[in-house]
Structure formats: structure tokens, C-alpha cells
Symmetry: C2
């Protein structure tokens, strides 16, 4: 916890509440959104000292010499918003820039699971994220990644998180729990390593966060919750969320950039009059353009209201309920004596129009702008040199030799993507053979796909074909490639594929689009090949340039980099490619490229 621990300042708080000494800050005349009783209370003041609330009510006696009085003039006061499940890496911002971006939207605390960077840099990556967050006023309660790599047998990530690492990190103050437990088969099957991670977390009385994405809400969900997993953001149907809440699990209702589940899952609470204390709102993955154009938790609260949730209830779902989920409600989640003075002033409640943001009693944002300085960092080398290819890529690396004795065509396993969906189809298609090799077949919308190990110079590389991107030329590449984040390249020709790959290797990773030997657009992500060093608007601008370049290459899908980023993720159906090769994810086994 940043700021003063309550135990250290009780005398001070009492002194201010009783009027013996002046408050540091008094916010005067708010409409208090009381999340305890779900009421709005008119004409309330909030007296603050040592970063905590000393008094809520009439604070006139706490105003003395040196007290800063903030006239709220009847604006709504809510607790600061808390995002109970978020991967900062999805924003492609480093955590300082992320904080700069989300704080003006009313976010005062996040519970990030840094499992993307952990796949690249292991526990040192997690430590880096924790330390970097300390430079910001944002309260960052990290959960320790639980499943790194995501699918150990099928790919080579940059690092492994062991149960011992989990136990080590649970002892850290900055770590408040275990990251999303994606390995539900391991949980349900009683896998000893997985249950050792659960043990290490429960042993410290910290919170295990979940990822239960199956539609089965009977024995599997019961088993999953029985193992101590307290919350889950993977509900996509209203009945999933309802089943979880009924079983005493916090249902984290998600509205991310790509996963916009809220319209459906919020029906778990709007369709029936249930107690909503086990419902929270979270973002999971948010792209920079979403953060800049729509906002963060303010946007999600607004969305909940627009789906018919009472505004006070929606605010509870982003404040008190989150704090209770993590057992932190003694410090966070409400505006009450003794609690941290993390407070928002809203010009309009239903529109969630955040005008002022206070963290630990300090005004940190006003009218959409950060008003405190977050120092820019010079990041250490170890987080920036993470693209380690055995040698530069050449055209020859991308050549796919046809099997001995092939004729003019060969039956080939092709991944077919589905626009705006995370799944793929496993297709078997006759591909042309030319000079003993199998090239891309643009006439059938099939291009080449390569995943190049980039962490440890192993030189391993998976090659395959993907259908559906509608590329007419050039190539694209990205080091954001879940979850191992190897170097992934999609292209129409080998030369552009090599150029795309080498361009990223040269700048420490990122996203690039090339054509005919020329770079069309490049977003360098030098930190772990995942995060930018630039400011949010600059990142967003480059994302726009990349989108334009995709279109120039012929692809008009929505967020094609996002679809591409999931092609190596071997937990999703039906066919995937990693640096080790093609994987049949229906039967969980490697498969041959040619039938």
C-alpha cells in the first residue's frame, strides 16, 4: 500500500476529525455516492489528512490555516475506480504511461497480471513491472503469473515461472495474489505443481484469481472454486456469471477492447433482483486507442449503466466489491473515515464524467489531464534486449519444402482465422507446389505464417499457412504473440517476411508491416518486445499507421494484429502454430503440416 498505513496515523486522523488540528484537504459540498448503503447523500464534506479520510459529513471544524479547500459545488464523489483484472501489456504502454493514461479516467488502483512480460523475462520481468509502478501514483496490486509458459510442452517461451517462484513472490508486499489460473485442467485434475501454487497463495492469505472459460458450471466449476479460486473474468454468457456468483465466486464482468462481454454478462444481474456484491467490472485487455477514445473504468461503469444497472450499483462494482474481493476493504473501495482518500469528483453520475481524481488525498488529475509529474524512465538493458535470433533471417528460412515426391499440389493443413473471434478452423487444402516448394496462394487467400523462437537464440522456427487475412502483398510481423511472444511473421513472400522479421529483431521487437522491401509502418516495442517507451498518443498514432498499412496490403479485418497475436496460443481451438510446429489443439498434439 502506498501512503501511510492506517496503524501509523490513527492519532492524526482522530485529531483532525475532532477539530484539534486542521485537515490537509477538505473537499466541500459533494453529493456522496455512498457505496456502503447504496445511497446518495447531499451536501457532504470530506476531510483528509495523511492521505486518508478523517471525516465525512460537515467538515467545517477541520478547516484551519493551511487547509486546502476544494469546492466540489455539488459534484458527485465516488471512491476511486479499481480494475480487478488487467494486463497492462495489452496497452503496449509501459506502466508509467499506462498510469498517465488511465488515472484521468478515474482509475486509482489496478490488479495487473503481468503474464505477458513474464513469458519473456520470467520473474525478473514481474519484478520490473512492480518496481516501475512505484514511480506512479496509481496503486498497483500485482498478482503473480501462475501459468508461464501457458502450454509448456508445445512452445518455448523466454522463461518459466515455477511454484517456488510463486512462493517467493507471495512474500512480497507488492504482490496481492496469484494471477489468472488458466490451467483449469491442472486444477481439476489435482496437478501437484498447480496445487502447490494455490497452496503458496492461500498460505499467505492472498487472493487466487481465476480463468475458467468452460461453459460447464457443474462439477468443474465447483471443483475450481473449491480449490480456493476467488474470482473469474472469463464469463461470456449471463448464466456463467450467475453460476459463479451463486457459488460465492466474484464474477468479474469484462469489457475489454476485443472481449466486449458486458452486454451479455451484465444480464446476470439486470434480469433478476439478486444481491450484486459478488459482481465486479474489469477490463482484462485494453488497446491504446480504446483507452484514449473511450476511457478505462469510467467507460466500463458507463457501459454498465447503459445496460440498465443502477449507477450506484455500477459504482459499487468498480469500487467496494473489488476491494472486498481482494480483502482490502479496510483501506480501499469506499469513502469513509480511515480509508485511503482515493476519490473521484464527477460532474454527472450516469455519464461517469470524471472531473477530478484524488489518490491518497492528492489531486492527481483534473478535467481529463494528469496534474502531477510521473518521471520518465531510462529502462535497463535487460528488459530491452529480448530479441535474440540465432542469425538474421533470410528468404531461405521461409521456404517450405514440399514432401518428397509431391506432384503439382500437396494436401496441407491450413489455419483459417475467423474475423473478430478467437477461434480458428483447421482446414485441409490442396496447395500448389512450385520448384519443390509450397508458396503462398493468394488466389485462395492463403499466406505463409512463421513463428521464430526469439528468446534464447535456439534458431527453432515453426512454419505454416494461414487463410483469411486477405493480404495481397508484403508481410507483417509482431513480437506480441501469445503467450510465448516469439517473433511471428505473416507474409505473401519470403523476402518481405525476412525483412519484417529482421526489422523487429533490430529494434527489440514490436509490430511492423512491409511491402516490396520497404517498411510501411513500424511500432517499436523495445521493452520485452511488448511495451513501448513512447507516450500513449504516439503509440496510438503508430497503431493507426499500422492499421492503414494492413489495409494497404489488402487486409480490412478489424484489429488484425489482435487476431494474429493469438495464432500461436495453443489453448485455443482448432489449429495453432508455435516455434515448435503445428499443433492440433482439439486433440492437444503436434501435427504434420502436410496430410
Amino acid at each position: 500500500m502506498k501512503g501511510h498505513a492506517l496503524k501509523d496515523v490513527t492519532v492524526k486522523l482522530v485529531g483532525v476529525a475532532m477539530g484539534r488540528e486542521p485537515a490537509e484537504t477538505v473537499i466541500r459540498n459533494v453529493r456522496l455516492v455512498n457505496v456502503h448503503t447504496a445511497e446518495i447523500l447531499e451536501r457532504m464534506d470530506i476531510a483528509i489528512v495523511c492521505g486518508r479520510v478523517a471525516l465525512v459529513g460537515d467538515a467545517s471544524h477541520t478547516i484551519g490555516e493551511g487547509t486546502r479547500v476544494v469546492e466540489a459545488d455539488g459534484m458527485y464523489a465516488t471512491p476511486g475506480f479499481m480494475d480487478g483484472h488487467i494486463h497492462v501489456e495489452s496497452s503496449m504502454m509501459n506502466v508509467r504511461e499506462y498510469a498517465r493514461t488511465v488515472i484521468p479516467h478515474g482509475t486509482t488502483a489496478i490488479y495487473p497480471d503481468p503474464h505477458e512480460i513474464a513469458n519473456v523475462l520470467g520473474k525478473e520481468g514481474v519484478r520490473f513491472m512492480i518496481d516501475d509502478a512505484k514511480a506512479t501514483p496509481l496503486k498497483v496490486f500485482t498478482v503473480m503469473p501462475s501459468c508461464v509458459p501457458a502450454v509448456p510442452a508445445f512452445e518455448d517461451a523466454g522463461a518459466t515461472i515455477t511454484p517456488e517462484d510463486v512462493a517467493e513472490f507471495m512474500a512480497l508486499d507488492g504482490v496481492c495474489g496469484l494471477g489468472e489460473m488458466m490451467n483449469f485442467p491442472g486444477v481439476l485434475g489435482g496437478d501437484p505443481d498447480i496445487h502447490r501454487e494455490l497452496y503458496a497463495t492461500l498460505d499467505r492469505e492472498k487472493t487466487i484469481t481465476g480463468h475458467y472459460s468452460m461453459p460447464e458450471t457443474g462439477q468443474g466449476l465447483n471443483a475450481y472454486i473449491a480449490s480456493g479460486i476467488r474470482c473469474c473474468h472469463e464469463s461470456v454468457r449471463r448464466e456463467d456469471a450467475l453460476a459463479k456468483m451463486r457459488l460465492g465466486m466474484y464474477a468479474q464482468l469484462r469489457e475489454g477492447s476485443a472481449w466486449r462481454d458486458l452486454a451479455e454478462v451484465i444480464k446476470s444481474v439486470t434480469e433478476r433482483r439478486i444481491d450484486t456484491r459478488f459482481a465486479t467490472l474489469i477490463s482484462d485487455d485494453t488497446h491504446p486507442d480504446t483507452l484514449l477514445s473511450l476511457g478505462h473504468m469510467d467507460h466500463i461503469v458507463r457501459r454498465a449503466v447503459s445496460e440498465g444497472v443502477d449507477p450506484i450499483t455500477a459504482v459499487q462494482m468498480a469500487t467496494l466489491n473489488v476491494a472486498q474481493c481482494y480483502g482490502m476493504d479496510r483501506d480501499l473501495g469506499s469513502i469513509a473515515p480511515g480509508r485511503c482518500a482515493d476519490i473521484l469528483l464527477l460532474a454527472d453520475l450516469a455519464r461517469v464524467d470524471v472531473r477530478k481524481v484524488f489518490i491518497d488525498g492528492e489531486l492527481v488529475a483534473e478535467d481529463g489531464k494528469l496534474v502531477v509529474e510521473i518521471e520518465r524512465a531510462v529502462y535497463p538493458d535487460f528488459v530491452k534486449n529480448t530479441c535474440h535470433l540465432k542469425r538474421p533471417l533470410s528468404e531461405a528460412d521461409f521456404r517450405v519444402p514440399a514432401p518428397e515426391g509431391s506432384g503439382t499440389s500437396v494436401r496441407t493443413r491450413v489455419i483459417e482465422i475467423i474475423e473478430a473471434r478467437v477461434g480458428t478452423y483447421a482446414r485441409e487444402i490442396d496447395m500448389p507446389v512450385r520448384d519443390g516448394h509450397v508458396p503462398a496462394d493468394l488466389s485462395h487467400d492463403i499466406v505463409k505464417l512463421a513463428v521464430v523462437e526469439r528468446h534464447k537464440n535456439t534458431g527453432t522456427m515453426g512454419r505454416g499457412f494461414v487463410k483469411g487475412f486477405r493480404l495481397k502483398g508484403g508481410a507483417v510481423a509482431s513480437t506480441v504473440a501469445h503467450d510465448a511472444h516469439n517473433l511471428m511473421i505473416v507474409g505473401t513472400n519470403d523476402a518481405d517476411m525476412a525483412l519484417a522479421g529482421n526489422t523487429l529483431a533490430g529494434c527489440g521487437g514490436g509490430m511492423v508491416a512491409v511491402r516490396d522491401g520497404r517498411v510501411l509502418a513500424l511500432l517499436p516495442l523495445p521493452i520485452a518486445g511488448l511495451l513501448s517507451e513512447e507516450e500513449a498518443p504516439a503509440i496510438a498514432e503508430k497503431v493507426v499507421e499500422l492499421d492503414a498499412a494492413w489495409k494497404e496490403l489488402g487486409c480490412d479485418l478489424e484489429s488484425p494484429f489482435m487476431t494474429m497475436a493469438l495464432l500461436p496460443l495453443a489453448v485455443l481451438p482448432e489449429l495453432r502454430l508455435t516455434n515448435r510446429g503445428l499443433i492440433d489443439t482439439v486433440n492437444y498434439r503436434f501435427t504434420e503440416l502436410f496430410v
Copy 2:
């Protein structure tokens, strides 16, 4: 926590939920009172292993060889009831007998504050209570008494609890927080010793329980809550309870034997549609006859329902809300996978008709009877020899000499009691003088009152007069005399007063009524002069005999021993008597008996 820690049994729970191994117990076909969502769910089963719930729903696949199947036949299942604030000593039962009595009423956990015994035996008394509770299936989460003695400067208790003692006991597993912080002037004034106790509790992330009995809900209540005090049972007006909940404090709505506040304070939630998660139901002080005739938490939940609270909401107030107040909802307070299998089966919900009680999955009570054995104890000497008078009392000890030069009467300060109220009036009355002494004046309903130090043979003794008991003869005495629990004697004549006092001193304390040199009724309380070694019905029977004896002596007040027990409590208005003398509790100073 009794039973298995969740961290130790996750693999086992998962194995049962998935049907790989049989449940130990399955409760089949309940109407589940779901406190998470506030719904009733029909036809649910509950599978249990290792004392915890493995699955809620259809548990047919968990039934195997050796599984005990309990047919609920549609009875309501609720979580076990939890009493968030209770003094076991008020029942005059030792904790084993208390457990025997309350478990069949559905109480599965209590949060006792053993501050009565602490006033007699200090921290060793607390340790004794903690240890004795281990012999019972009842979950006993002790809070460490915070204010022993209650009013240090004005009386001599048997022991003192220091901030160091508090810090020492906070390290114990069996201690879950700090007992009711009655010294609100100390809290509000920033008293260093008091705030050291708060610090010691917050430092261990345990719960500070409150006692804020002032009607002021502005700066004082804010200051009190700001110091980290999480709950309070001292609301007597609906607006007190509402103010506390609005400020994020758990309002513990009380229905004790003598303090029947529920009818009033429940209006804080029934008169308006507020979120009720910060409301809990508690008993505070309950006499044996109440427990035997009305019940315990079942009675209080029933009372809440009869006052218009929805039955599911009322159950939440005695289960989930209590667990959340103490930060124990990961283990307690609801029927959910992973939680302790503390479960009640009710034949009727609104009538709270408890038929079966399970604790940690074991059937412990059925149809109002305990079905497990709680071993009877042979209590150690140190808890039983606590009446230490300097010498036997004689008639002369009770003589009150009139001041030098008094005439036939002398203006005297007299305590006037008020039936069924805790307050008293400070009266100035002309008392007759006879042979240089001031006797009782039965014609004006004024009798003698004496408080004799009984802990450390000091021989100190306070003498005074009390009006309102309507005694016509004899004397009564008690070692239940808040909070120092010295030997208190009320009587019409000195001989009977000496007999009453000596009778109690001879049996280690208790309550007695005598007349004309004969004992009319005696309830020995040999443990600390507060607790019986007998069974509840025997205690209740003796209480009835004592009530009859009071009546025989002329007193027809309701619970006169209760009114009497508060006469030395110098935190209550207006005039009190301790072993050190008469105290003006309006101005907090000693005062002379004669004006």
C-alpha cells in the same frame, strides 16, 4: 480455525467435486438459502469432505461407498449462524456449557469478548477461555479485551490488560481482534496507550471491535471509525445504526436479554431501501433463561424477520455479513465450494426452525439436542479461587457513621435506579441518623450498598445508599458486578449483608439472597466468581429461585440482579459506587457520601 485449512485440502476437494473419490457426507435435496445472491435455490445437494464443501448442486456423482447421505427432503439450508459480539460470561455458563446450549439453536461460531473474566484473572483468564473453547465444536474467535479495568482510576479490578498484553495476544491464532473499545474518550483524545492497542491489532491485520454509545454521530463517530474500529454494537436508535453503516462501519444490531434494541435499530434498514451488507445481528449479553426459552441467533434472526426484514436478508446478517466484517468470508459465512461445511437445515425459514446443525461437516445437533459429546472439565484451581477478602465480613463493616455533629438527619447522596434502564439518578436526600450511624431507610425505599474489593485482600470497601429496589428485608449479594466484579452487597440490615457477602466468599463467588440469617437462594459461580460449573437448566433453575427470593424480599423489578450488576460501572450516569467510593460519573470524579 478448527478443522482443515483450505490450503491443505484443495486436491481432496477437487477430487470429490469431480467424482474421482466419494464425498464423506452429502446433504441431499435442500432449498438453498444462497446468501451470495440472496436467492433461494431449489433441489440442491451439498457434497462435503474434510469438513469443507466440495460441491453445491447435483452431487449424485460424489456419492460412493462410505458416503453418508443426509436426506434433507426440501428443508432450507443456511450457513451456520455467527454471533459477532458476545460475552459468554453473561450466560453464567462456562464456554463448554454455553456451546452445548447454543449449537442446537444453529450457532456455529461466536466472537466472544471475555472482558468479564479478564477483569478477574487478566490475560490468563482470556487464555483459559480460549483453551476451554477448544474442547467444543463451536468456533470461538476470541477478541482480546481492550479496556481492563474499564475505569482504571476509580476501582480495583483483579487484573489489568496492558497494550503489551494486547500485542502479545494478537499473535495468537485463536485471537481474531480487539475487544469492544469502550474507552471512546481515549480513542477520541488520542490517548497513547489506547492507540497502541489499536496499532497492535491493525499491525496483525485483525479486527478492532467497537463500543460507541454516544448519540453524537458527527465528529466523534467519524474520529472513532477513522481510528480503524470496524464494528459497533452500541446503537440504540435507528439513526445511530444508519450513521455507522453510512460511514462504512458494521452496525451490529443487538437483541440481548436485557438490551433489546432490535425493534428500534432494525428500522435503519426496514424504513429505507439501503444495501444491508454492513448490518449484522448480535446478542452481546444473554442470560441462561433467554437461551433456554427463546434461543440464541435463531431467536435474533426470527426477531429480525418479525420486524419486517426479508428472511434471506436476515440470514445474511447472521452469516455472510459477519464473516465479511471479520475478513473471514473465505472460510465462513456461506455455503459454497471450499468453505467450511457449517450448515443448518431449517424446517421453516421465517420461523427459523433449526432441525439439524453441521459444523465442519459433522452433524452436531439435531431437533434441538446436541448429538456429540463435549467432555466435562475439571477446572484448574487458579480460575476457581478468586474471592480473596482480607477477613470475613462483620456487621460492623457495613455501618455508615454519620459525620461529626450530625443531628437527626444528614443530607446524603443516594443512587436512584431506574427500572429496565442502565442509567441512574444522583439524588440528595435527608437520611435519618441513629446512634451516630446512618441506617437503611425502608420507608423511603433506600437500602445500603457496599462494594468490597475481593481480588487481592486489600480490605478496601465502598459504602453508599441506593433507592428503588423496594426491598423490605434481607440482603442480596453478587460477584457479577461490572466491570471489576468485586463483591457487591445490597441490603436492609448489616447482619444479612455480612451473611450474604460471606456466603459468596465461601463458595468462590456467585449470587445470593438472604433474610434473617438464612440463605433463601444461592447460585454459586465458582469460576472467577462469574461462571457456573453446572448445566444450563440447573443454572436457569437457580436463577428462577433467586428471582423468587428477590420477590420474597419485596423487589418486583425485572432482572434486578442485572440492574444491580451495573451499579459499580463508572462509565454510566449519574452516580456509581466502587470499592474506592462514590463516583459522580457526570463529572468523572469521586464525591462524598454526605453533602
